[in-house]
Symmetry: C2
Subunit: 392 residues, 2 copies
């Protein structure tokens, strides 16, 4: 992974909930950063979401991100917020930083209060470890039911200088971000104005993390936190914004794809493209109804060309369209139009494609301008294994 | 099962798709009936849905219901409608009835055209069998992935005469009716006016079939067809409507419960009660978001008191409420209020309840008048087994 200049990492076994695995991670920039963030649309926002949101809006001294796995610190009331702030103090004080310098994020079980004795023991170890680890270690430490760490990076040249952007994310379950994914961190050494950075992060998230779904469940903790510390010496201006945006979005899309690919128990990535809708919102509604349908997901898992389930999902999506205008193409094979199946021998034609990981589902609803795209995983035995006893 | 007077049944191995199992069923009344029906809200309504809907509206000679399993005759265009009508003619002509006398319903794979040669062979056998079978046989013949036949019946006394109502349904997967369930048939020997019968059927469906969910997938074929032949000699009047309504609703609720209980792979029935919402629609939205959440469904399957997943689902439902007003009670144990967990030792307290089949989830959103109820199944390994290779 390419690493932006001026950041240090720590990734430790904090023993906050689990033993014998990394569960506490920190990125610290050597200098204050321009911070941006997008946060879950869930009405029950976790304590770290509330705290990070406020810091992104008010603090001019942000220079790090701390993430713990094991406990989400969500649905924990005032006590949860106090615990979150205390956990930040325990770490910032040891790094010579003010308490508003680190953005928090948490993932894990909802409804448990932090065990602060464990945090008091872990904080000095974490602070001590800063600089001893890498971005790859950070990506590993934030995993929960993930089977591989998600990371992506890219360097571009701006004004003759190299600007690097890196992203690390965790996901797997409770994924259907509406605003942000589970936990994503994007860092860069570009020098950039706060308003521009916020705009770039929002634009990137809208066409990446907000277009993926594992199980339709938007978490209480979803967030993407983004830092820019300027260490490259290269400034992003209006002239270079587009190129920079492209790189940031590309990294976010790479991470998002990895999230779906590693969706709990997933074996497939459906890429659902909807066009011709009345508007984008209705196209999105259709894409999500198809992508969340347990019957579609299990058919794809079973490598079954049972496309009728897709059409049925389109039909119950609530979007407005003429049934007769709808066209369904799967992996390049036209299957349904004019309200009836095409002549394609779809079982034979689709068979080789259904063996692959990526399944392209192309839905045309009519002549409208609305379109949407969604990456969604399948629904498998392993998903049930993981979620029927996640807490135990 | 109590059986209303004046109906005859046939349930045969039609060999329409499967061999060696009942797949074609018919109820015929000795005299013309008052017919009512509720039909799927899916935009792609199957051919039999379109045909039955028209017959319910226009025909005064309805006196039967014919159901086939194996092919849904959905997404089959004009050819599908022609095949549906032809299948009715093949049977009505042999029974001395006009072609508009039988309401059709189909269940099975979407997107396949009927094999009319098989229908030509099956129709005489079906007509010949009328009167040789029972309502129980009918309920068996309409099963697809169902593991037991769904039926309910009840008799009440009206004007000193016995009126009997019986219901038969099939379901299991693709169940989240919005208008009707997969296939339900309700017959009675009451004498009743068409407008009243339609009203009673709609009212019953709204608080029964429309309140159940297995997988959130509303089928292209959902319908409830209802016949009243008057053979009991007892008339339902305004004075006795309420009592009759109660009996009809009770039967529909019994059938609905059976549908969830026999949801594909289901081991649990969640009864989700939402109150205090801004209005009924928002309460329903919350109930459905919780009832469809794969994470909630798998936790219930795993007998895991992981109530945070329920709160997270409430939070992403899109309903309006103050997070601080929300209260969650499960199986009588108060778990969450004032934005934080109660002091209950919920793991210990809930353990015995989570072993049971029926799981009561009680959600209070605030002080509004809106309320809703939903029966939903869990999500299990067996659901995946069934749906990953349903077609094969």
């Amino acid at each position: 992974m390419d690493t932006p200049k001026g950041y240090k990492y720590a990734a430790i076994e904090g023993n906050l909930k689990y033993s014998g695995r990394l569960d506490l991670a920190l990125i610290v920039s050597e200098t204050p950063c321009v911070a941006a963030g997008t946060f879950t649309a869930n009405k029950f926002q976790a304590a770290p979401v509330l705290v990070a949101k406020e810091l992104v809006e008010t603090s001019s001294r942000v220079q790090g991100v701390m993430i713990n796995a094991g406990s989400a610190n969500a649905c924990t009331g005032e006590e949860g917020i106090a615990n979150c702030k205390r956990s930040l103090e325990l770490v910032t004080s040891r790094l010579g930083l003010t308490p508003d310098a680190i953005l928090p994020a948490s993932t894990g079980v909802i409804g448990l209060q932090f065990d602060m004795k464990k945090w008091e023991a872990a904080a000095p170890v974490l602070a001590e470890a800063v600089g001893k680890h890498t971005g790859d270690d950070f990506a590993k430490a934030i995993m929960t039911t993930d089977t591989f760490p998600k990371k992506a990076s890219r360097s571009i040249t701006v004004d003759g200088k190299t600007v690097t952007i890196a992203g690390m994310a965790k996901g797997a379950g409770m994924i259907c971000p509406n605003m942000a994914t589970m936990l994503g961190t994007v860092i860069t050494d570009a020098k950039i104005d706060a308003a521009m950075w916020k705009r770039i992060v929002k634009t990137g998230v809208d066409s990446s993390f907000n277009c993926v779904s594992v199980d339709g469940d938007t978490s209480t903790n979803d967030c993407v936190l983004a830092l820019a510390n300027g260490a490259s010496g290269a400034s992003i201006t209006e002239a270079t914004e587009a190129e920079f945006q492209q790189a940031v979005t590309a990294i976010m899309r790479e991470l998002s794809y990895q999230l779906v690919q590693d969706g709990e128990g997933a074996t497939k990535v459906m890429q659902i493209m909807v066009s011709g809708a009345k508007n984008d919102a209705e196209a999105d509604q259709v894409a999500r109804t198809v992508g969340h349908s347990p019957l579609v997901k299990t058919a794809i898992y079973g490598k079954d060309a049972n496309w009728g389930r897709i059409v049925a999902a389109i039909g119950r999506s609530g979007a407005e369209f003429e049934a007769n205008d709808v066209q369904l193409t799967m992996c390049g094979i036209e299957l349904f139009k004019n309200s009836q199946p095409t002549d394609a021998d779809f079982d034979t034609l689709l068979k080789p494609y259904l063996e692959k990981r990526d399944i392209l589902i192309d839905i045309v609803l009519g002549n409208g301008e609305g379109k949407a795209e969604l990456f969604a995983s399948d629904l498998t035995h392993e998903y049930i294994n993981i979620n029927a006893d996640y807490r135990s």
